[in-house]
Structure formats: C-alpha cells, structure tokens
C-alpha cells in the first residue's frame, strides 16, 4: 500500500516544530506502525538525513513508551491498542497519516515525537507506593484475604501502563485518569489502606504542580486508553480526595 506520512519535526525543546511530508510506497499491511516508522528512518539515514526521534521499547503493548498521536487520536484509530500494536492494515491505501507528539505543557517535547513524561514519575514518587517493612519478616501479601471483586477492580486499575494517552487525548491535558488509576489500584487493597488518605492528597497536589489541566468528564481518556481504564477511577479519586481532606489531621 502507498501512504503519505505527515510527521511533526522539532529539533529540540525550545525550537519551533513543523509538519514534514514523506510519501511512502510499498508499505506492507502486516507491518506495525512502528515498523513502518523504522522503514522510514532507515530510508532517511541512507539518504543522509536525520531520522525521526520517537519513543519505543517493548513493542508488545505493555511498556507504554510508543507515544504517537496518529490522525487526531492517541495511538491512532484502534481501540485498546498502543501504537506498536497498531497495524498498517488499519489504514486505507493512499491515505494521508498525520503523526504528532503528545501535546501538553506537562509533557515538553524533547525531539520530534519524543516527549518528557517524567511528570508521571514525580506523581508516582509523591505517593504511588505502599511502604513495606524490610526487616526480613515481611508478610506474604497473599496471606491477607481480599474480596474477589476488590482484587479484580484493583487489577483493572493496575493495568495502566502510564503511557500518557489520557493526557494527550484530553482536551484539557488532564492527568486525572492516570493519577486516579494509580490511586485506586492501591486504595482498593488492604495493603494500600494505611496510606490511603495522604496518598491521594499528595498525588493530586503533585499533579497540580506539574501543570496538567482539569477534568471535564468528557470521557475521551477512557475511550483512547490502550488498557481501557474506566473513568470510574476519576470519580473514586474525587471522592477520596474530598473525604481525605475533610477527615485528615
């Protein structure tokens, strides 16, 4: 198949970027989107040009690296897929495909399609953990009975891979789906309960500090999330933040 690729090129964090056009012919329908990008980069290198910088790692949909805003949607037109799991058969022959980086003040562009998502790391560091005793007599987590429903719900939230598609998709660049998934995953389980109140307060504070926008409950994030994280998590976080603030000492 033949396609026309329009890719965002930006030399560095402070330079102005622009869309660059690359016609591509004989693209295999069985290629993943990233493999198609590899072919293009190979061609660019052979021609003595700078290859397009983009993040990628596992290429099996679990690392959350491959951040690309394809044809107006995070990770492209597919549902519940990351860019690496998106195949060229999802596009039409002769189609023009726009590829842009995640756009958010909190995710500054490093180069081309690669953005700095360390804001997410700082949110996790602010409270997205469970403190454990490392004296050597740590209790086996499986020794604590957990209702099946709670375990399932916590697991659903824990499938978040921190890719940032929610931020990229949200018209307000809000990180509420990511933060709420991380808050929920821990607060639903008995191991996470002791730090529940301060966790939600600290993580929301850090989220605000990073410059993400506000949630308008459009629901776009849950549609575009490659792991199908539900916005029920956001409502849970709203509830926990309110009650934690009202009752914490």
């Amino acid at each position: 198949m033949n396609i026309t690729l329009k890719v965002w090129r930006q030399k560095g964090p402070n330079s102005l970027g622009k869309m660059e056009t690359h016609p591509m012919s004989n693209v295999s329908e069985d290629m993943s989107f990233l493999e198609m990008m590899d072919v293009l980069n190979d061609k660019l290198i052979r021609e003595g040009n700078e290859p397009i910088a983009f993040d990628h790692d596992c290429r099996e949909g679990i690392c959350g690296s491959c951040s690309m805003f394809i044809n107006g949607e995070a990770h492209g037109p597919g549902r519940n897929v990351t860019t690496c799991q998106l195949h060229m058969r999802s596009f039409k022959d002769g189609e023009t495909i726009h590829v842009e980086p995640w756009r958010s003040a909190a995710f500054p562009v490093i180069k081309d399609l690669a953005v700095d998502r360390s804001a997410f790391d700082r949110i996790i560091q602010s409270g997205g953990y469970v403190s454990v005793n490392t004296s050597g007599s740590t209790q086996d987590a499986n020794a604590i009975p957990i209702p099946k429903h709670d375990a399932d719900e916590a697991f659903d939230s824990a499938t978040c891979i921190g890719c940032g598609a929610c931020v990229a998709t949200c018209k307000n660049s809000s990180a509420m789906l990511f933060v709420s998934a991380k808050v929920s995953q821990l607060s639903l389980l008995p191991q996470g309960k002791p730090e529940k109140k301060e966790r939600v307060i600290r993580m929301v504070d850090q989220m605000d500090l990073e410059g993400f926008g506000n949630c308008t409950n459009t629901g776009a994030c849950e549609v575009e999330c490659p792991k199908g994280i539900s916005i029920t998590n956001i409502a849970r976080m709203n509830r926990e933040f309110l009650s934690s603030n009202l009752t914490s000492k």
Partner: protein, 253 residues
Amino acid sequence: MFQFDIWLVIGVAPCTFTKYRKTMRKTGILKSSLSKKYAMALTGLFLCLFLVGHLLGNLQLFIEGEAGRVAFNEYAKFMTSNPLIKIMSYITYASILFHVIDGFLLTIANKKARPVKYVVEKGSRNSSWASRNMALLGTALLVFIVTHMMNFWWVMHFGDMPVHKGVKDLHTITTHFFNPHENAMAGAATLLYVFAMVSMSIHLHHGFQSAFKSLGLDHPKYNSTVKFMGKAFSLVIPSAFASIPIFLYLTQA
C-alpha cells in the same frame, strides 16, 4: 518549583527534588484543582434547583385572562418581598457569579495546559460535542442571563412599572415583551429565548451527570439513574421554559 530558591540557598539542589514540596502539604484543599471542580458541581446543581423554582413560577403565564394576570403578579410580588426567597435569591446570584468565574479560571488553566495545539484532532471520535463545549455554551447562557435580567429583573426592581390591583404588573410587561403588536422585536426576542434554551439543554445534558462524577458520586448501581435524570432534566426543563415565549408570541400574534 516553589522551593527551588530555598534549596539553592542551602546549597543542596538535586534537580529531581525541585518540583517537590518539603513538607507533606502546603496547598489547602481550596487551592486544589479538584476543589474548583467541586465548586462547579455544587453551584451547577444548585442552579438546577433554581431552574425548577423559576419554571414553576413562569408556568403561570399559561393561565389566560384576568386570573392569570392576578396570579402571576401576586407571585412576582411574593418573590421580591419574602425574606426567605430573598436569601435564596442572593445564594442564586452568588452561585451564578461563582460558576462563571470558576468556569472562566478553569478554562484559562485548561488552555494553558496545552500551549501547542494539535494539527489534526478528532474529538468527535471519543467524546460528545456538549462535553467539549461547556465553556462556549456557558458563555451563551451568560449573555442570555444578562439580557434576560435587563429586560425583566431590572425593570421589576428599578423600572417604571405599571400597577394592577395594587401590585406591580409584571404580567403586562412580560406578555407585551413577546407580543409582536406591542414590541417590534418580539419575534427576535422569542427566537433568541429559544436559542438560549437549546444552549441550556446541551449544557445541562453534560453538566448534570458530570457534576455527580466531579463530586465522586459514582456507583454502578446508580449511574444509569443519574444519567437518565440528567437527560430528562436537560430535555424537560429547557423545553418547558421555551414553550412559554412561543405560546405568548403565537397567541398574541
């Protein structure tokens, strides 16, 4: 970010720490982004209650003849003189102002959160038009509220009012406003009123159920009920409001 200067002064400025607060909590709950959403939800839901009250009063305009005129004018007098209603009206003014200012601040913050726009963005693939245009719809409603208050509230409170049976005759003011023989702009006024109610319907369609989510009121058992209530509310209330000027215009034309 905030304590960067302090770290510099004491000479330990590990880069990764500059965005953290030293102590657990520096911002109060009121400064949080979530609190702005709680405020939007609470004022929004209160204004929904106000709409119900306002509509019940307006429906008296359907009563024809002298009886309707007396009933509506008595009601208007009661609304402007009862002390309890007065307190409620002040809460309503405050809610509208707060909802507008808070919404404005949130919109500014949201725009700032994405300084470089996407070249191609397909919002319609993942969200409703209403949810993406709450600020636009809200602005249309604000313009309506200002003109509406100038046309009726201001006249009732400070204008030169005709008197009927000892009370201010708001009934005549209202019916004449939508009467093409009395007001050259009656047709335009009716159309604009209907347009404002369509905006309100779309605003409520998203806003009603969104308010519940913002307050954390979300449960699989009740979500469908809330959603249905939101849909019903956003259809019934604005169309009932809009039917009144249409009725007044058509019956007097």
